[in-house]
Symmetry: C2
Subunit: 363 residues, 2 copies
């Protein structure tokens, strides 16, 4: 078992002019979680470990893989995040017992792997430990959201929060500015998470619509596939911006039908995240759509990257929801048909443009 | 006087599979305006002339400059729109009388020049002719919107509509897909304009919130300056997407305070247009912000391109509105201070990130 390290004496963050002491984590009294365990060693997990250590928390990164943990501990670098150095005071372990005593758990495991990974941890976790998740998407087999999976996996005793927004992890790791929401049904946890993750480069709003934030984070991957199709077909910025706004209306409509708040989709975790997903070149769902438009075979692409390209299975789920709730989601349906039924992308675009029009409906 | 030409006999649009006859303008009975006069010879004016001619209308382009009209008529090309050919059946004139008999006038004159240009035309226009405007922005001296200026300039007898959305003119001229809204207080005009401008490459919704559509088209230029600052400082896609979502919230808040509908800002003419303005590299307001961040002098930049960089004066107007209505517009205020008070952009970003946070408020 790895004991959670304490910050070395005298270690304190740089003081940036114009930034409050609270945001810099200078005052221990304002530090909402003294120790944090990060579940996962991917890009987001590492970027958040750095952030929380800067804020003065004692951070332990847990990797599902013993060899990866050993390499990360020794080299303080990761091939997943070139140019990043993991601060020396952060502990790294592959032993679930290393997470046993922490005040907060951060889930950085991708949605499709949450269930098996957290099953390995369950016995070692202190019951009732709050969890904050940065996973986006829905579990394909069960259509469950990350917060639901984590609530089950951790025995249901603790509060769950989700942290979401436009966060390309490589930028976050470089400490470039980012804005997120911390959403929880437990308002006290939402505000504690807000304080814990606020820093000179991260601005966090608290939020109470967990359902809306998680649905937005899943549904945007469908629109991102369509954005990639538009890029691959060379249809231009006007077309992609129209997609963004009409895709957003579909997302909000679906969310409202399922009980989420419409405004959530027009905020940082909705349209903010959607903009990054549609315009950042590195996105996996956008890249998948672009490759498809350029003639790659959908089935082969999905087999090669099935666990990380979540737009297509999410489209499948959303098409079923739209049918059940009797709502229109024409862009989502087009993505579904292009991926799973071999529909030519240009034909789908022509049909979308030619649908009968009326007054603009938002959500 | 140039007589409006009629379409050559037998001229009919290509039939694209899956596109309705109405959208292709095939049926004269469905053609809402038989003749259209385009006021202006800029990029948008030419792209729309092409679109309306394709839809079967008899189109006359009026240029404010006799020499430019002569060159355009002779060469069918414009240095403002490389690669574009003006269809042979479109008439070109610099004589205001050429617009006298048309069924619809399209304003393609930029906002700051609407008043003097339309004063030259007023005596020749048939009273009551409907006008649709594609100008964005507000008149700096009077804070009046394009539809208000046009209503005054044309004697106030006819209905006014505005056409807005993400429309980089060079893409529209290449007939790449675009989605717009046609807004008017006169619902019949909004629907006629919708039909007139619908084509295989343009999808138009009708809308009734003229105020919201015009405010969105003006306020987005302020956010675009901030997007350029972010690009110039190299702050990344996360930061720009956060700006987009929080800028949108400011725009919606300002619009709601002035009586516009909040949802308008979350639609095609709001967030759709904002996305294009923040992400398309060619935008003048975005480019202005980028040059500023890289050390150019604001005053010199404004003097060089004062008539087309409308973000800074719009920021000035919006700051006054925010003070009067007691609403928060921190991004708009930062742009104002950076441009007019020499505030260092990075300092403004640090302060925006460090403002006290609470629950996310949309609009």
């Amino acid at each position: 078992m790895t004991a959670p390290p304490t910050p070395p004496p005298g270690a304190k963050p740089d003081l940036t002019p114009g930034v409050t002491a609270e945001q810099q984590g200078g005052a221990a009294a304002l530090r909402p979680f003294a120790s944090v365990g990060i579940v996962g060693d991917g890009q987001m997990a590492l970027a958040l470990a750095d952030l929380l250590a800067f804020r003065g928390a004692a951070v332990t990164v847990w990797s599902p893989f013993a060899e990866a943990a050993e390499a990360l501990r020794r080299t303080r670098t990761s091939t997943r995040l070139p140019g990043f150095w993991l601060p020396a005071e952060i502990a790294v372990t592959a032993d679930p017992a290393g997470l046993g005593g922490v005040d907060l758990l951060v889930n950085g495991i991708p949605t499709q792997y949450i269930r098996p990974t957290w099953q390995r941890l369950a016995a070692q976790l202190r019951p009732g430990t709050p969890i904050v998740s940065v996973a986006k998407g829905i579990e394909i087999a069960s259509l469950r959201r990350p917060s639901e999976l984590l609530s089950e996996a951790s025995g249901g005793g603790g509060s769950i929060a989700v942290l979401s927004g436009p966060t390309v992890a490589t930028e976050l790791a470089r400490r470039l500015p980012a804005v997120m929401v911390a959403a929880s049904a437990d308002p006290e946890l939402a505000q504690r998470v807000q304080r814990a993750f606020a820093s000179p480069w991260t601005r966090i709003y608290h939020h109470d619509d967990v359902l809306g934030v998680e649905l937005a984070g899943a549904l945007k991957n469908v629109i991102a596939v369509a954005a990639g199709l538009i890029d691959g077909l060379g249809l231009g910025v006007n077309c992609k911006s129209a997609l963004l706004s009409r895709g957003l209306a579909e997302m909000a409509r679906c969310g409202a039908a399922l009980g989420a708040r419409r405004e959530t989709f027009f905020g940082v975790a909705g349209v903010g995240d959607l903009a990054t997903t549609c315009f950042a070149p590195e996105g996996r769902n956008r890249s998948f759509g672009e490759a498809l438009a350029k003639g790659s075979d959908a089935q082969r692409l999905l087999e090669a990257g099935s666990s990380v390209v979540e737009g297509p299975p999410t489209a499948k789920a959303a098409v079923a929801i739209a049918a059940r709730e009797r709502i229109e989601m024409p862009i989502t349906a087009a993505v579904h048909d292009i991926v799973y039924r071999g529909r030519p992308p240009l034909e789908a675009v022509a049909e979308l443009m030619a649908r009968s029009v009326g007054a603009e409906r938002i959500g």
